[in-house]
Every structure is written in C-alpha cells, then in structure tokens.
C-alpha cells in the first residue's frame, strides 16, 4: 500500500471507510487522485480475526461514549455503528435495497418530508453499478417498482424463518421475494459462497459478505489510495481563506496533521455532524458547513419493531443470513392514513440478541426467562424497517463530557412523532396478522427497537435549508464534502446502505466532472 506524507497535501482526505467512504476512496483513486482514507477503527482480517461469537465480536462496534436522550432514546453500539475499516458494512445484515423512486421527491409526489436534489433515474443508474460492484445475490425478478436489471448472483435459498414470512405474505395477499443480499451465492474472486453461518451481524469470518473489506477497500489500495487505520480524526482545519486545509487526527498516542486539498467527511450520521461541530473556529463559530444551522439536525433512524411467536416446527432461525425474505408491500401501497412506508423481513437473532428481546419487550427474568429461552429453536419473527420522518428536534449536539481522545462526545436526542407512531402500529398489526396466518402462537410485539441512521447534514437545492448541494459539496466551503447517510433528506422504508453506496459512486463521478472543468 502506498504511504502519503503528512506535510504534502493529498487531493482528498476521506474521514470514514464505510458504505459511503469506501466506494468514494476507491473511485477517486481510480481516477488518479491522491487519497488517504482515515478510519478510527482497526483494519481486520476476517479469516484470522473473526470469531463465531456474539460477545467476542463486540470489537466491531463503535462503543466509545455517547449520550442518548429524548422521549425515545436511540440504542447505539452494535445496532448502527461500526468502528473498523469498512465501517458498519463489516457487521451489517447485507440487505441491499433500492429506494422507491417517488421517495426522491416525497414532498412533491407524496406530500411529506423533503425532496432530494437528484432524479430517481440517475440513482437507478448508480444502484445498478453498486449492485454489480457488490455482486448482490437476489431474485430473478423483483416484485416492486420500475424494471431493474437482473441481480448479478442468484438468490440465496430460504431458511425456515424466511419460508414462514413467505407463507404469511401469501395468506395476506402480499407479494414477497428472496431478499437481495450482499453476500455471494457463488464464488467470487477470494470470496467463497456464503456457508449460512448466521453470524452476519457479527462479522463474516469467511469473506462471503461483500463488505467494504473485500470490495472497495482492496480496489482503493490497488489504485494507489492509502487506508490509515486506528486514526481518529478530531478536527478539520480551515485556513484564513475559509477553505479547509487538512485534518487533525489521533494515531499511535499523539495528534497529527494531514494536509489535504479536499476533505470528505464520511463518518455516518453521528460522527459526521460531531466532527463538523467540533471543528468550529473563529470564522465558523457554529461549526463547519453550518451556515444553515442544520448540521446535526433532522437525525433519522428507522423503526425496527417486530412481532415474534412460537411454532410447532423446528425453525432454527439462526441458520443463514437473518433476513432471507422480504415483503415491501407497504412501501408501494399509498392507501394508508400516515406518510411513509415500511418493509418487513424474516428474523434470526442469536441468543444474546434474543434474550435482549425477551427481557426488553416482555420484562422477563428468573425462571420464566430461562423457560422461554428454551424455545429458541421454535421461534419465528418478522421485523420491520420503517420510514421515520425528518424532524429538527431530533439531533446530534456536543455534550460537555469528553471521550478517550479528549473530544466532546455526541449527545443524540430522539423522539418519535405521531406519524412515526402510526406507521409503527400499522406495521405491527400487519406483521402480527402474517404470523397468525402461519399458525404461530404466543405472539408478542417488540415495540421499541430502531435501526440505521440518516440525516444531520442533508443535501438540497437551497443553501438556506440544506448543508450540501446535489454533489454532496458543502454550500459554505467548496473543498469540503460529505459522503454518507448524513446527506439523506428522508430515509425511506428500506435499509439505507445501498443508497449510501450508490450516492458515493455518483459523488465520485461528479467530482471527476468538476475536476475536468476546473471547478474543483
């Protein structure tokens, strides 16, 4: 791997190597730019470093201190935050879905949220590129939305839990399909086909998962980028002309400085606003890129409620990827009395995740808990990914206390709105009906879970009400860019990673175009 000196400015310093940073680093390097990608976490080698164990694999998560409050505090940690080269893609569940086209104009077409400054047809092009780059394994025809190309790899077979989703959906008259997943169903280079371990959310120890570690990061390195791991960026420096000049980062026990002609922040919806706010200076007292006052605001998570039940059958839901089948029915049906949409997927929690559900949702402990846990191999569940609406009161701010680097920690404030609650109740009712239809008994609802993050540095067409423009470039500082889920104006009713990656590929093309016309 190439090493860049700190005193010589690189073309791009990219902070974060996940679903947004990874593809951008690779594509910029492939276009001949000098690029250093920083990640606060270590660079794991899955074959040697990943155990088949829930607890041991805590090492993949962002477990540095953060404070959560609001009426519905967001559970952080393994739920949504990675601290490793590859970011959360090292432990994501690999669900790779496209937004419904209308969501890019949800305000104009559906009457809620805000419009994105990009056209869905352009995104459709980048989705196809992303699906090829990650060799998504998916169905031959996808039941919802406009025509899309075939998925590069065949769909995975269903496990018992996925089969029950399918039966339930058919009983209710909903379409369902095998979930498009970023784990290969046939060999690809050094990746063997998925062996259905079921530890996807704890790191893939065989490299079947098409995380950044086996896709864009190797491409980035091959193209001459440097990945600097265990490097926590704490501050972006801005010069007297108002442009950024590089990043201060903590590595091997001391603070260092990397000069850069452009800085891209790709730290996801908590760390990105945290870094922009922490980089405040005399010229930008409210933080960088924040003339709109919107940095940190409109944080969105996604509703992740579930219904669980017990089957006579042995389901053994821990086998295989956890979300092998899906119905997006309610993402494409607008006859609802609330805004937004949702999908639901089959479930396969491992024992610690499962005991968290039983204790959290049912308040069980003692002998009652032990007996319920013994039904583990007979459990079945459906879990939603639902759209939550942007709300300025949901936000990331800086708390007074500091972390191990001496940096102020993020305070994450979140409360559900009435629309969010209505959507959740609708989904819980439909999921329950689906489980009833397959004969599941002892049904109960997990009412409190959320997953995924977005917002906090939204893109838009108007600098007064957005942080970056359609090129993901700061309105205020022309050599500062943002490339992660933070730029989402709305979050849609599907998992966000494929949209983050597609937008990163688009941003790389936009930067290339701007460079060619001397506008960089």
């Amino acid at each position: 791997m190439r090493d860049y000196g700190e005193s010589e400015a690189v073309d791009f310093a990219v902070v974060g190597t996940g679903a947004g940073g990874g593809p951008l680093i690779a594509r910029l390097a492939e276009q001949g730019f000098s690029v250093v990608g920083f990640d606060a976490g270590p660079w794991f080698r899955p074959l040697e470093d990943f155990a088949s164990d829930e607890t041991e694999q805590d090492k993949l998560y962002w477990t540095d201190r953060r404070i959560v409050d609001g009426e519905n505090p967001i559970v952080m940690g393994g739920n949504n935050s990675g601290k490793a080269v590859g970011g959360s893609t090292v432990h994501f569940a690999m669900v790779s879905l496209r937004f419904r086209p209308e969501w890019f104009k949800s305000r104009s077409l559906l009457g809620y949220g805000v419009d994105w400054p990009v056209d869905w047809r352009e995104m459709w092009h980048y989705y196809a590129l992303a699906e090829q780059a990650l060799k998504i394994s998916g169905p031959v025809t996808y039941p919802w939305g406009p025509k899309r190309p075939r998925y590069p790899y065949r769909a995975h077979e269903l496990n018992g839990a996925a089969e029950l989703l399918a039966r339930g959906a058919e009983a209710l008259g909903y379409k369902w399909t095998a979930t498009p997943l970023a784990t290969v169903s046939a060999p690809r280079g050094l990746s063997p086909p998925c062996v259905y371990r079921g530890f996807c959310r704890f790191g893939c120890s065989t490299n079947a998962k098409q995380s950044q570690l086996v896709t864009f990061i190797p491409r980035a390195v091959a193209a001459g980028a440097e990945i600097r791991d265990l490097a926590m960026v704490g501050r972006i420096e801005a010069g007297p002309d108002g442009r950024v000049t590089g990043v201060h980062y903590h590595r091997q026990g001391r603070w260092r400085f990397q000069k850069a002609r452009n800085v891209v922040v790709a730290g996801y919806a908590i760390e990105t606003p945290r870094l922009l706010l922490a980089s405040a200076n005399d010229r930008y007292p409210d933080g960088l890129a924040n003339s709109s006052g919107l940095v940190g605001k409109n944080l969105m998570t996604q509703s992740n409620q579930a219904v669980f039940g017990t089957m006579e059958n042995e389901v053994r839901w821990n086998k295989g990827p956890p979300s092998l089948s899906i119905t997006e029915h309610w993402n494409y049906d607008d006859r609802k009395d609330f805004a937004g949409g949702y999908c639901w997927m089959a479930q396969g929690p491992l024992p610690i995740e499962w005991v968290t559900v039983l204790t959290g949702s049912r308040g069980l402990w003692g002998e009652a808990l032990r007996r319920e846990m013994e039904k583990y191999n007979h459990q079945v569940g459906l879990k939603m990914v639902g759209e939550m609406l942007p709300d300025e009161r949901n936000r990331v701010t800086l708390a007074d206390e500091t972390d191990q680097y001496g940096l102020r920690v993020a305070r994450i404030t979140y409360s559900w709105g009435d629309n969010d609650k209505a959507l959740i109740q609708h989904a819980l009712g439909r999921m329950q009906a689906s489980l009833e239809a397959v004969g599941a008994t002892d049904l109960f609802r997990q009412e409190d879970d959320t997953n995924h993050l977005a917002g906090t540095a939204r893109m838009g067409n108007d600098p007064r009400v957005s942080v970056v423009n359609a090129d993901c470039r700061s309105w205020d500082i022309p050599n500062l860019w943002i490339c992660d889920g933070s730029i989402f104006p709305t979050t849609g009713g599907v998992n966000p990673s494929l949209t983050i990656t597609s937008m990163a590929l688009r941003t790389a093309d936009r930067i290339s175009r701007l460079a060619a016309t001397g506008e960089l």
Binding site: D53, T63, V68, G160, V195, T206, N313, N318, T359, G363
Partner: protein, 217 residues
Amino acid sequence: MTDQRQSRYPGYDVLAKRHSASWNEITRQAIDRRLAVPREPRFFTEMEWLTLEAVCRVIMPQPDGRPAVPLAAYVDLRLFEGRGDGYRYATMPSEGEAWQRGLAALEAEAQAKYGRPFHVLQPTDQDELLAQTQKGTLHDPAWAGMPPATFFTHRLVPDITHAYYAHPTAWNEIGYGGPASPRGYVRMGLDRRDPWEAAEAHPGEVAAAARKNARVG
C-alpha cells in the same frame, strides 16, 4: 434450585464441536478465555460482590447438578476491563458507577425493609425487591437520582443475561449450535437439522435424540 425437568436436548454439548469444522482457532481462543474467567472480584468490593451474586441467582436461576455459570464474575470482568455499550442514557451514570450505586441501593433497601443484608434475604424477598426495582417503586436515597427501573432494564438484566447466554452451558440448554465457522449450515428449511446441530427430544424419542447429540462433534 432443583430442576427435575428433562432437558430438551439430552446429552447435547456444544463443546464437543470444539475440534470440528464448526470452530476456527480464534473462536477456540475466545471461548477458552471465557471459560477461564477469574472467579474473584476485581472491580467490585467484597460486599458488592455478595449482593451481586445474590442478584444473579434471582435474575438467572441455575439448575443443580451442573456447574453454575459464574455470572457475577462476567459482570465484574466487563466492568474491570471497561468495556462499554457505546451509549448511555442521559439519566444514568457510567456503567461501573451505575452498578456500584445500584448494588448499594439494593443493600440499603434490604436493610431498611428487612434489617438484613440483601444476600442473606429469603429468595422470595430478594425477588420482591428486584420486582420493585423493575417497576421503579423504590425510593431509598442511596439511588441518588438514578432511576431504578432504568438501572434494572438497561444495566442489571442485560449484563447478567448476556453473560449467561454467552456461555456454552446456556447454549446446550437452548439447543443452540454455537460457533459455526468455517462450516456453517447446510439444511436450511423448516424441521431440518444438520448432524452437527442439537437434536430435540420429542416425546418418545429421548434416547434417539441423545444418540444424535452424542455425535454432534
């Protein structure tokens, strides 16, 4: 506590797979470290430790006739190593402080109500105090502003139950396959079992299940 019920998975021992294709080297190392957990407190004081052990017995009672999973030791280890959740409710102190304050408060509640330390109370009385903690109906000044219900639901119960279900003994109890790298699984559908998975004792098939479970390694 005695538990005369027939195990659902008679004779299943996930550790029998230790040298099979289901365990890679780093998993063996991780589980070895887990099984070798130090049994003495390094974070808690002796008094806190006694209270904690009693709390663990109530939250996750364990059957006689097999070595108990040392739950207090795992809670202590996690705090001793300073491993965090990655977030903290604004109403809660840090992980370690929450535990210290929570155990002190349970002790104070026991003394106030029964005039004896928590760890020597009758199990039903311990049960009652913990149920009140869960409901948030305790108000001794020793809680010092920490909401008992939040402590119970987001600190006490997860730390104890996560330790239990991270242990091979608990995996045996629930018929969980445990580590699965590099082999993974093959038989995916409903009512399908790979030969290296736990076999459930359906009525009249206990001996057959035991024979299958003897061969998972």
